[in-house]
Subunit: 193 residues, 2 copies
């Protein structure tokens, strides 16, 4: 940030009085502009034992598989955002939603929040940001083809809970190095090469 | 937003291609600037049956009572943010933290997330943003003197769960009209005047 978004004056990057972090401050008015983590919200949608997944039609990770999810928008609740993303990306409506996972991804300033839910009816299809939307059984999931580490982790937790017969709420943190470890663990030789 | 924070060019407020909401867009480069909800994170800290509360030394709601809480910062997890706010505002460390409430406050673009926890040791005191920090029993809480509706709701849920003998995770939404209803319900005549 170089210019004040409100008046166009140069921005100073310094610690304001009474604070302990550098902030963007307008050199003309003293207004402080904060930068905070953003929430990405989505759904694990189950239908007849299979999970609704989207092959991405956009960057980043074009062509890789994801759960319907995206940035929470102003004016909507976390659940409303998760349901909207499912509608936009997978043309699907959900019912019986329960909060399932909240994953801090601090190195990119994001919190990823997933509901688990059931598909309402049986309709789904590819939205604008998806090449293809499919209901996949656990064995059909191609783990190295997943788009993001939080998708990977949320699905791992989901299938583990489903096998255990009880769903919990999972709060955890994923760092920059976790992604590679996940991919290695699922590679055909268990990461030995 | 009137000026591009990166290049200083005028901002246009319009719907970008492939989107369905108006965004702030740089008229020179086309860069899109998104505005998303922010997370406020805090703790309900219990010690010998009483709750750690802070009387605010800053606006808004100077002089009113709150739980230690504040905006989640870049680079920290939700739990780390909640613990940091408790350290900053109440000079207290926490242990045994469990996620307790996630409250959407859409009309101000915020999500308020509270952990419940126990005080580590017995030290606490007023941080810079607090006039006074006290351990209050449920009967000592002056409900009309609470600073914010989410504080009110989180404490209500906490004491109800404690009486019931089991703590849940509470996800809900508070609107602009809920605050008045809460205050009336707790006024001496139950809101009849």
């Amino acid at each position: 940030m170089s210019f004040c978004p409100n008046c166009g004056a140069p921005i100073e990057f310094r610690v304001p009085e009474g604070d302990d972090r550098k902030r963007n401050i307008c050199s003309a008015t003293g207004e402080i502009f904060y930068d905070n983590p953003r929430n990405v919200v989505g759904c694990i949608v189950e239908h007849e034992g299979r999970i609704l997944m989207c092959r991405r039609a956009i960057e980043p990770r074009l062509g890789f598989w994801t759960l319907p999810a995206g940035f929470l928008e102003l004016g909507e609740t976390i659940y409303e955002g998760a349901a909207r993303e499912t509608r936009e990306e997978a043309q699907a409506e959900v019912v019986d939603a329960e909060l399932f996972a909240m994953i801090d991804v601090t190195h990119i300033g994001q919190v990823h929040i997933f509901y688990r839910a059931r598909l309402a009816g049986s309709h789904y299809g590819a939205g604008q940001e998806s090449q293809l939307v499919s209901l996949l059984a656990e064995d059909d999931i191609d783990w190295p083809q997943l788009a993001f580490p939080t998708i990977y982790r949320a699905l791992e937790r989901y299938f583990a809970d489903r096998r255990a017969g009880t769903f919990g709420l999972h709060t955890e943190s994923l760092g920059a190095n976790d992604w590679k470890a996940m991919q290695l663990a699922r590679s055909p030789d268990g990461g030995r090469t």
